[in-house]
């Protein structure tokens, strides 16, 4: 089925967003954000896939063997680092918020009234 990876990517994206929107715990919301992010990995790697291709590492196979796209591999690597670092920052913010409010439930924070 040539559409399946793209369906999976779209599904993950929307499910992750649903998780963030209905979340009752900040750590849960941050994890849902990484689910959203993983959908972009799948999309990138699916776009660069070549059926029957091997990894683009030519240590044991000669140059010219059919291989998948190396560029999307590099892009996904960057994407993973970005996601991990943003999660770390968000978790640090969540820790400090917990210390102030005693809860991680976004519904229990009172917004700034003006």
């Amino acid at each position: 089925m040539s559409l399946l990876p793209y369906l999976v990517a779209a599904w993950l994206f929307l499910v992750g967003l649903y998780g963030i929107v209905t979340s009752r715990n900040l750590v849960h919301a941050i994890t849902c954000l990484s689910v959203v992010q993983s959908s972009t990995y799948i999309l990138l790697l699916a776009v660069g896939f070549e059926r029957g291709g091997t990894a683009p590492i030519f240590l044991d196979v000669p140059v010219g063997t059919k291989a998948v796209d190396p560029v999307v591999g590099a892009l996904t690597l960057t994407d993973i680092v970005v996601g991990a670092t943003v999660s770390a920052l968000l978790l640090a913010l969540a820790v400090q918020v917990y210390k102030h409010h005693g809860t991680l439930d976004p519904e229990r924070f009172r917004g700034e009234q003006d």
């Binding site: 994206f13 291709g53 770390a88």
Partner: protein, 254 residues
Amino acid sequence: MTPAVRRLVFLAAATVAGALLLWGLTGLPPYGVYPGPYGDVLNQVAVAERKATNVVAAVTFDYRGVDTMGEEYILFAAVIGVAVLLRAQRGEVERQPDEDAADRRAPATSNAVRVLGLALLGPVVLFGVYVVTHGHLSPGGGFQGGVVLATGALLVYLSGEYVTLRRVRPVFLLDLAESAGAGGYVAVGLLGVAAGAAFLENVLPLGQPGALLSAGTIPLINLAVGVEVAGGLVLLLSEFLQQTLVLRRPGEVT
């Protein structure tokens, strides 16, 4: 919006957005067919031009090296950010974790876990060093190897040796390692400019593909990235552990 209203609005909007996404995704070439020129051209020329057999590493550190520099600095900025966000606030004091070991409800680490953890430490560090240094030849590289190295520190914590780690952990050295990695990347780039070429141009001798010392600046950058990632992640880990285990408000228990 109340949570119930929000859920309804979201579901309605997400259905439309999802339909649009799928409509657009069907315009892509079928899965398994890669039409574009970029990857194919690079697969053909990268090994010959850069003597690096791992084409992904060649793309990451040479052809698109400036992207990776930005990515490395994202990690750098995030580590600084976490250090700032988790800094001790007014009124918080540091309490050594072994001071409340007496009231701790969790059992002390079993000897089996302790032995296994410490026994694995050596092989993990060795493996990490291997992955970092062979990044231009086989799968792996600075990022992957750096993460493996950082898990060594995690193993020490899991083996119940956090107190020892704290005494031994040299924050200054970790900061230095992280900055040396980040600054080193930029320095290698400026090396190219100093040599009259473009920023991040590969100006070192290229050697033979498959040899450990080949591909010019790529293994050098790999090393810088590995050091930076390892240092950065260990710093991150220690910041969070410090926050959870060590910082206490006066009068607070656990």
